[in-house]
Amino acid sequence: MTEAVIVVALLLVGACATAAVAVRDPVRQSLVLAVLGVVLAVLFTVLQAPDVGLSQLAVGSALTPLLLLLTVRKVRRRAQRAPDGPAGRRGREGGP
C-alpha cells in the first residue's frame, strides 16, 4: 500500500517538474511550481520526512511563486512603459 502511494507521488513529481519546465510563460510557470511544491511536500510526507515536507510546503507553494510573480510584475511593467526599447519586443507576452 505504502509502496503504491510512493510510486504515485514520485510519478506526479516527475510530471509536475516536466510541466514546470515546459510551460514557458513565467506567470503560468510559477503556478505550476506552486503545484510542484505541494506534490513534493506530499512525497516527503510519504517518505516519512515531515520536517522537510513542512518546509517544502511553506517555501515551495508560497514563497518561491510569490517572488517569481513579483519579479514578473516589476519586469513587465518596465517593458510596457518603454515600448520602443529592446524590451518592447517582449510586449506580446505581457499583453492583456
Binding site: G14, A20, F44, L67, T71, A79
Partner: protein
C-alpha cells in the same frame, strides 16, 4: 516488490534534474530560467530522501514513539534537505534580484538579446 521500484526514486530524481537543466539551457526568459533552477534543486531533495528511506520505517521523531520500538528512516539526509529548502529559496530570491537589475540596466530579460546587446 519489483526491481523497478528499487531504483524508481533515483531515476525520477535524475529525470527531474535533467528536465531542469534542459529548461535552463533553452530558456528565453531569465525569470523562467530561475524557475527551472528551482526544479533542479527539487531533484536533489528527492534523491537525498530516497537514499534515507527504509521500508516499513516511520519518521525519526520520538515524541509519540518509544525509542527502539520501530525502525526509523535516516534523519541525517532529512536535515540536509531541510536546511537547503529554505536557504535555496533565499538564493532564488538573490537570483531574481539580479534579474530585476538586468531588466533595469538592459531593458530585456531574454538571454539571447542580452548577448546581442553586448555585441
Amino acid at each position: 516488490m519489483t526491481t523497478l521500484t528499487h531504483v524508481l526514486p533515483y531515476l525520477v530524481a535524475a529525470w527531474v534534474f535533467l528536465a531542469g537543466c534542459y529548461g535552463l539551457a533553452t530558456s528565453r526568459d531569465l525569470i523562467h530560467a530561475v524557475g527551472c533552477l528551482s526544479v533542479c534543486q527539487a531533484a536533489t531533495y528527492v534523491l537525498l530522501l530516497a537514499v534515507g528511506y527504509r521500508d516499513g520505517a516511520t519518521a525519526p521523531v520520538f515524541s509519540d514513539l518509544a525509542p527502539g520500538s520501530r525502525p526509523v528512516v535516516d534523519p541525517v539526509v532529512q536535515a540536509l534537505a531541510l536546511t537547503d529548502v529554505v536557504v535555496g529559496a533565499t538564493v532564488t530570491a538573490l537570483l531574481l534580484a539580479l534579474v530585476v537589475q538586468v531588466a533595469k540596466r538592459h531593458g530585456t530579460v531574454d538571454p539571447d538579446e542580452l548577448s546581442e546587446l553586448r555585441g
